[in-house]
């Protein structure tokens, strides 16, 4: 796979050199990563990138620096691949950063710039970041009756005490040896994971529990995708009842605008939203734990409600409407008000038994 990415980078380099040999303005064509060029594939229930592209040329005052950044990051990636090393986005930023002699111009000033160049390269070469040996962040823990092989070790996720296995940023090399679980619960909060792990929920319900802190990292999304598609495990998502929690679910299931070009690799179309739902709020009397909406919550809710995949979904629109009417949100931990192990003993088993989820 590394060989393929190297070849694609090579092709880009050769194309640009050819332009120069022909005394043409060296330029590359890049698919547009913007809301206006993202389409929702109703068939696959996934966001995909559209057909719009733009051209980046060297001899253009507004392009020159970005052109240099793209070529530079391409060269860095090629170097990583040739040496079989991985680098973080931050590393790449530093590897690209230097001042152009006799100017006050840096090749990159902010990490955002090298990050953008990485995304551009993903688009141009059709290779995703991990294939370019550039890693995302590492975050999150997992537990369950699963054994994996990774970097030469065999790891049993059921034997890792109160800590669990720390999920690497890149799981391209990971192999599942044994998967003995009926489903996966993914939650946005590490504290909830510790609660479920202490209560040995994964053992009692025979499932896998995975957490990050906030949005799912690419490593986690890829892992959930493999568990969903290759092992046919249902994936349940457990987040706060607020626009941000629902957005986490949305990204997991349908993909995101920024990464629409690699939705194939990351999205989990069969994921289900377990809670907290508006109905949970009513059923478990959580209104007293409401947190009032701020302006930013309203606008986020508005935005999410208008997503193609939610727009015509009555169940979801009902959720959004209730949230809007209440002008309030609620956290998973609000369930603790009903008892510290209420979530493990009652909430999760009931929800799953009653197939009480949103799709």
């Amino acid at each position: 796979m590394a060989g393929e990415a190297v070849k694609k980078l090579d092709n880009l380099g050769k194309k640009l050199v050819k332009d120069i040999d022909e005394e043409k303005n060296p330029s590359m064509t890049i698919p547009l990563r913007a809301l206006s060029n993202v389409v929702f594939d109703r068939q696959d229930k996934t966001l995909r990138i559209g057909d719009k592209t733009f051209v980046r040329s060297f001899f253009n005052v507004a392009h020159a620096r970005k052109f240099l950044q793209t070529v530079e990051v391409g060269a860095i990636s090629k170097d990583l691949l040739n040496n079989n090393k991985h680098a973080s986005l931050r590393d790449v930023f530093y590897m690209a950063k230097r001042t152009i002699p006799n100017t006050k111009i840096n090749v990159v000033d902010e990490q955002q710039e090298s990050d953008n160049a990485v995304e551009d390269l993903e688009m141009i070469t059709g290779s995703w970041r991990e294939q370019l040996h550039i890693n995302a962040n590492k975050l999150g823990a997992v537990a369950g009756n699963v054994t994996v092989e990774d970097a030469g070790d065999t790891i049993d996720w059921s034997k890792l005490g109160s800590g669990g296995w720390s999920i690497p940023s890149n799981i391209e090399e990971l192999k599942f040896k044994k998967v003995d679980a009926k489903y996966v619960i993914y939650m946005e909060k590490a504290a909830v994971w510790e609660r479920l792990n202490e209560d040995k929920v994964w053992k009692k319900l025979n499932c896998i529990i995975i957490s990050s802190q906030g949005k799912a990292t690419r490593g986690i999304r890829r892992m959930l995708q493999i568990l969903s598609t290759q092992y046919k495990l249902p994936i349940y998502v457990l987040t706060d009842f607020d626009p941000w929690g629902i957005y986490i679910y949305s990204v997991l299931k349908f993909g995101s605008i920024n990464l629409a070009h690699i939705s194939d690799r990351l999205s989990v179309p069969d994921a289900r939203f377990l809670g907290i739902t508006a109905d949970d709020i009513e059923k478990y009397d959580l209104k007293k734990h409401f947190i009032n909406f701020k302006d930013v919550d309203f606008s986020r809710l508005e935005q999410i409600g208008s997503y193609d995949w939610f727009k015509n979904n009555k169940d979801w629109q009902r959720q959004f409407k209730m949230m809007k009417d209440w002008k309030a949100k609620a956290e998973i931990q609000a369930l603790s008000a009903r008892g510290i192990s209420f979530i493990s003993d009652k909430y999760l088993p009931d929800k799953i038994k009653n197939e009480d989820w949103l799709d």
């Binding site: 880009l12 380099g13 060296p26 913007a34 001899f59 020159a64």
Partner: protein
């Protein structure tokens, strides 16, 4: 009816106290109306009144002015200064010296519609009044009309009578010169700041570039050089325009005219009324052409007045005005501010309330003007700098209504002056400048005036923005070439690593393309990418 009446003082008792008040007494008590609000401003006002008079006199006599101003502290007395102003004007005939300096409301310009600095015959006698009030001393006047006789007078004002009181008088013969010298001792406080005497003189030199002014202050001597050789044209005095005359004035004119018939009155006592216009007015008012003006009174005045409003008349003659004109303004600003570029605009004359006026503006840019500060606004009326009360002034108001950003200038907020190396010059010339008070520091906000100032500034702004943009663009093109020269080694290095091709070869080919101009350097946005939410890392 009142609830309770105390001892009623009779009207007869009250009437015994009533008396006439002289205009000198009035202004003695209300000197702030003449610009003597405080000690600092008082010094400036004295200098202003004398310098204005000198400039007016020189111009009327077609003499290129040389003016000497001296301000020195009086011996041993705190806050007391001796001020003298000398000019090379025509001088004043001996018989009139007393009344010019020693009587308020005496002058040559009040009853004329004529563009001049002084208007009401109240300025220099006001200064004499202030001097005697605060120092108790007479003003010393020296005058010669060029006949070899030099008259000296020590003079005060008898405020009860509003008449000059001449304390000492002598004539010296021999020296042939012409001009006036006036010396006064006054209470005052000398400061050096934005509204100081030297700053006033500098601005005077700016708006009177044909004058040479030598200043001898308490701590410094400054010579403001003459930067133009010719005086502006002579302003002419005009008759009132019917549309600018109010009903009360019309009534008085009817009473005091020498004309025997109404038609004659209309054509001789007004400007812009010819035979046919006069007939038209009389027809509309339904009068007899030959009625004597003195017989028109009461409601008939109103009828005539309304008729005048209804008849279309051409605008008043505008050659009564003598603007500085663009060339003179540019010379004055270049000499006094040393900018890199000046644009001046003289607007065609317009009319407010029947009074012709003309607006001139200039924008000075760059050079020795301070770069980091807010623009300076210089206001002038009939070539006199306006130093105070910018907040109430129509000229300043008009300036604040300009969107300076539109002309490529920085502006902190929408009503602010522009920021940068800019000076704004605004001049109103008029036969009757509508000051908001007798201290002559702010122009009343007539919409016609504000409109003209804005039009002039917009035109000047457009010209300045062309200059500024041209300068910017020339710089940019050169910068682009040099920018790519610096990028080429970097891009070549990265591209060599990416493609495996030779770095030096790539570099030399790119340089070639740049040097030979084979490539059109573009400057276009990559694409209108919508704002992306930063969603994933």
């Amino acid at each position: 009816m009142p609830d309770k009446v105390e001892k009623v003082k009779s009207a007869e008792e009250l009437s015994r106290d009533q008396r006439e008040i002289s205009v000198s007494e009035f202004f003695e008590k209300n000197r702030h109306l003449l610009g003597y609000d405080n000690k600092v401003k008082a010094l400036l006002t004295v200098v202003r009144e004398a310098v204005d008079n000198s400039l007016d006199a020189c111009e009327t006599a077609r003499i290129v002015p040389d003016i000497k101003v001296s301000v020195k502290p009086a011996k041993d007395i705190k806050d007391r200064y001796v001020i003298s102003i000398e000019d090379n004007g025509p001088g004043i005939v001996k018989e009139n010296v007393g009344r010019v300096f020693g009587k308020l409301l005496f002058g040559s310009k009040f009853h004329k519609l004529l563009q001049s600095r002084g208007q009401q015959g109240i300025g220099i006698s006001g200064a004499v009044l202030y001097a005697q009030l605060t120092s108790g001393k007479p003003s010393k006047i020296t005058s010669s009309t060029g006949d070899g006789k030099t008259h000296h007078m020590d003079l005060m004002i008898d405020t009860f009578k509003n008449e000059p009181e001449i304390l000492k008088e002598e004539v010296k013969e021999g020296k042939v010169w012409h001009g006036i010298r006036v010396e006064m001792e006054v209470e005052g406080k000398y400061v050096e700041h934005q509204q100081s005497i030297p700053e006033y003189l500098r601005q005077t030199a700016m708006s009177n570039p044909y004058a040479e002014i030598i200043y001898d202050g308490p701590d410094e001597k400054i010579k403001f050089e003459r930067s133009a050789k010719n005086l502006p044209q002579v302003p002419k005095s005009i008759k009132p325009h019917p549309h600018g005359v109010e009903i009360g004035i019309l009534r008085r004119m009817l009473k005091t005219t020498d004309a025997r018939t109404l038609a004659g009155f209309l054509t001789t006592d007004f400007s812009r009324v010819g035979q046919s216009s006069a007939k038209e007015i009389i027809r509309v008012a339904k009068f007899d052409e030959n009625v004597s003006p003195k017989n028109i009174d009461g409601p008939q005045v109103e009828k005539l007045f309304q008729a005048i409003q209804q008849v279309q008349l051409i605008k008043p003659p505008l050659d009564c005005l003598s603007p500085l004109r663009e060339k003179l303004i540019e010379e004055g600003l270049k000499e006094q501010l040393r900018p890199e570029y000046v644009v001046a605009i003289t607007r065609p004359p317009d009319v407010y309330r029947g009074n012709p006026f003309e607006i001139e503006v200039a924008l000075a840019y760059g050079g020795e003007l301070p770069h980091e500060s807010i623009a300076t606004l210089y206001r002038f009326a009939n070539r006199v700098p306006l130093m105070y009360q910018a907040g109430d002034c129509a000229l300043a108001k008009a300036v604040s209504e300009i969107e300076w950003r539109r002309y490529g200038l920085d502006q902190a907020s929408s009503a602010a002056l522009p920021t940068g190396p800019i000076a704004i010059f605004v001049h109103i010339a008029s036969v009757w400048v509508p000051f908001t008070s007798e201290s002559k520091e702010a122009i009343a906000s007539y919409p016609e005036i504000i409109k003209e100032v804005k039009l002039a500034l917009q035109e000047a702004g457009r010209k300045l923005s062309i200059y500024v943009n041209k300068k910017k663009k020339a710089g940019e093109a050169a910068m682009r070439i040099s920018l790519f020269e610096k990028y080429i080694p970097e891009v070549s290095d990265a591209l060599a690593r990416l493609s495996g091709a030779d770095k030096h070869k790539i570099a030399s080919k790119l340089e070639n393309m740049l040097k030979k101009g084979k490539i059109v350097i573009e400057d276009t946005e990559e694409s209108k990418e919508d704002v992306k939410q930063k969603e994933d890392e």
